[in-house]
Amino acid sequence: MGILGLSKLIADMAPLAIRESEIKNFFGRKVAIDASMCLYQFLIAVRSEGAQLATVNGDPTSHLMGMFYRTIRLLDNGIKPVYVFDGKPPDLKAGELAKRAERREEAEKALKLATDAGDEAEIEKFNRRLVRVTKEHSNEAKQLLKLMGVPYVDAPCEAEAQCAALVKAGKVYATATEDMDALTFGSCKLLRYLTYSEARKMPVKEFSYDKVLQGLELTSKEFIDLCILMGCDYCDSIKGVGPKRAIELIKSYRDIETILENIDTSKYTVPENWNYKRARELFVEPEVTDASDIDLKWTAPDEDGLVQFLCGDRQFNEERVRNGAKKLLKSKQAQTQVRLDSFFKTMPSTPNANASAAAKRKAEESKKSANNKKAKTSGGSGAARGRRPK
């Protein structure tokens, strides 16, 4: 689920770490995508008249529809995706998962109530909350990717961590995700909104890890501690410490141990048996497959295979599938445009730009919130993205 409020904090304190650009500027880039999150989003979002798309037997096919067209769109833009599937969740996530299970139960109860009352809108709302990605969905998606000639990786544990490992090893350019924890795992580049449908017309946000650290004036170790303080999936956080407080604490004490020695316990309650050390280990040395052992290959699509797989029982339109396959094939044949960065070296940028850009952004923000009450247009976006239960 990510780190609470991290993207807003970065936007405030290290604005230079974020760059917005159009999707077409990412041509030729390879990106790692957290597949499980995608599937979850599709199962929720891809619907017709409120119901999931389904086979003749009623098994959902929304995830396949989404996967098929999103992948085509990426390849059409010259972006080469590699999907990473979650493995088993780490033990530390049990707490977070229990919370999610609790929420599901609540939703289930609420759904019952709504069904009894016959409230259509409520039924739909809670139905969506009950969506979960099963092994079956993942396997179908993998089969589809194989037919499309797109590589995928099975992560031993968290997909985000594996994505970050692929980026660090230089196998791919960036992690494309809506979860900010890819940065905590040390993914050099993180792309947000890359996977969004074109209809939204949102620019892609590119976060650069080194510039985040530079802007926040932290080392990578301190950054991990900051994320733990702000609230991650793996352990509780100190009550009363939000993003602002967290960065202040880290800047004055430099690590959680020292913070604990100095914090005013009458004001803040530190969780009992706080397991921040394990969480930190998880971020520093996550369980991942060594990226150098992973060979990524994009191959030609199997058009007839796709038709066989998607049409028939799964009720996809054959003509559209064939068109999609043609697009896939076409994207393979194009020559690759090289970037100037690979010929010319970048010289250091102006140092004072960071501070003034931050000041400017703040000024704009305060103006905005003064003008209308719906502030926080920049950092949030939480409402739009699906949470992922497991």
Binding site: L340, F344, T346, M347
Partner: protein, 260 residues
Amino acid sequence: MFEARLGQATTLKKILDAIKDLLNEGTFDCSDSGIQLQAMDNSHVSLVSLTLRSDGFDKFRCDRNLSMGMNLGSMAKILKCANNEDNVTMKAQDNADTVTIMFESANQEKVSDYEMKLMNLDQEHLGIPETEYSCVVRMPAIEFARICRDLAQFSESVVICCTKEGVKFSASGDVGTANIKLAQTGSVDKEEEAVIIDMQEPVTLTFACRYLNAFTKATPLSTQVQLSMCADVPLVVEYAIKDLGHIRYYLAPKIEDNET
């Protein structure tokens, strides 16, 4: 204090027209030697490098080095307000956050000034290495613009092949193929109409038409254009700006993707 004055606004207009399609914004770095601008387009495929020498201006004064980040679209809008024959003066204080652009009519009867906000741009400067190019082609700028426009109808990319005999531009797509060959001019009567090829080694490179066509927006600045090519390095397209400097465009080539 920075002040630069040009006799004719039309030159500055043409310069802005030559860069504003590729770049949304850019930083003018001013020093006592002149004004420089270097910036990549958003996709990092092409780069614009503009040099205006101080001795080319009617009046030039720059006490301290100054970087002025500008929205080039806004700048072009302001320049639209000038008549071609107007005098144009750019002025800024040290550490200012605005720049003043003033137009004076030739008879001094009308003076208009425009103030524009500057931007603080974090732009990556690129170090461009000295390169020995294996082929340097000089040709009429209008001819080059025409070729790029024509070939863009056939394909997204154009192949430029330069040999001792001449230079060939070709494109192939769904419609068919197109080839345009230019031979080296035998006897040079009019220098601006000549095609001159200086070749050490033959070169064949592929480039995206989209960018080449954006470069040709500089055609009104110069009668001749110079293409410098070398295997596996970016193409340089240079337009001289008479008595003032030059504008250079760098473009990364397209390569065969043999990895997948």
